[in-house]
Symmetry: C2
Subunit: 144 residues, 2 copies
């Protein structure tokens, strides 16, 4: 019965920790803001307010669905404001809040890091992939 108990205990532990992580709000938030579109929208809106169609053109790879969805999420999280102007046709403007701008500062830094270190990363990848080819040698070494 020992083994089945061990398995049960493992499962219990994992379940506990999952609950802990699911609770952890800062982690959820981190996951949200590091989403692909959020990042792009932050920098698109960094220069000031933009209309829906402007955003759509600024980030042409985004579908209406994801654009709307991301904007709604950001609005809900207080990162931007959505202003509807009653006219024909309707006009909707999006603008970063103070909170949104403060986040953008950080994300810009991360983006800059990515741009600055791209070459390092790509070199590392090339090196890694080449090493993969000569793996047999590593295997020999491992056998002493």
């Amino acid at each position: 019965m020992a083994t089945s108990t061990a398995a049960a205990r493992r499962e219990q532990e994992r379940s506990d920790y999952n609950a802990y992580l699911a609770e952890c709000p800062s982690h959820n938030l981190l996951a949200q803001i590091s989403s692909k579109w959020i990042t792009l929208l932050l920098s698109a809106l960094a220069g000031g307010s933009m209309r829906y169609s402007n955003l759509s053109r600024a980030i042409p790879s985004v579908s209406q669905k994801m654009l709307t969805q991301s904007l709604r999420t950001m609005e809900r999280d207080g990162l931007l404001t959505r202003t509807v102007t009653a006219a024909v046709p309707v006009r909707v403007d999006y603008e970063l809040t103070t909170l949104g701008r403060s986040l953008n500062v950080l994300m810009t830094q991360v983006k800059n890091w990515a741009e600055s270190n791209m070459d390092n990363v790509y070199d590392a990848r090339r090196g890694y992939d080449e090493r993969e080819v000569e793996d047999p040698i590593a295997a020999l070494n491992r056998r002493g």
Copy 2:
């Protein structure tokens, strides 16, 4: 023929931009590093080198699959080193590189932002969700 041409042009534009985005290496990199597990692994390894089993225990919610996969990605990108010690049983240590540590500095800032602003975000969400309930009024206003 005007409409079909417009559609074709749109598609062409989108295709062009997609190619542009797919090329954009800093964006790819950004997507990679903002992955859930990468973030956790960075902070787990911030204190120094760790063994595979240590990491597994430090981040209990990660499956072996994702742990291994994430570590390989980070190794490939030059964010950490993987050291195999031939012994029985085998021992594998992971340690952040200088590049990895420099990234961790930024990600820690973002993490801190998330922790500091959690309350703001949650308040905003509550406000948004409450406003949703009284949406009928907004609809009336919109009709002037």
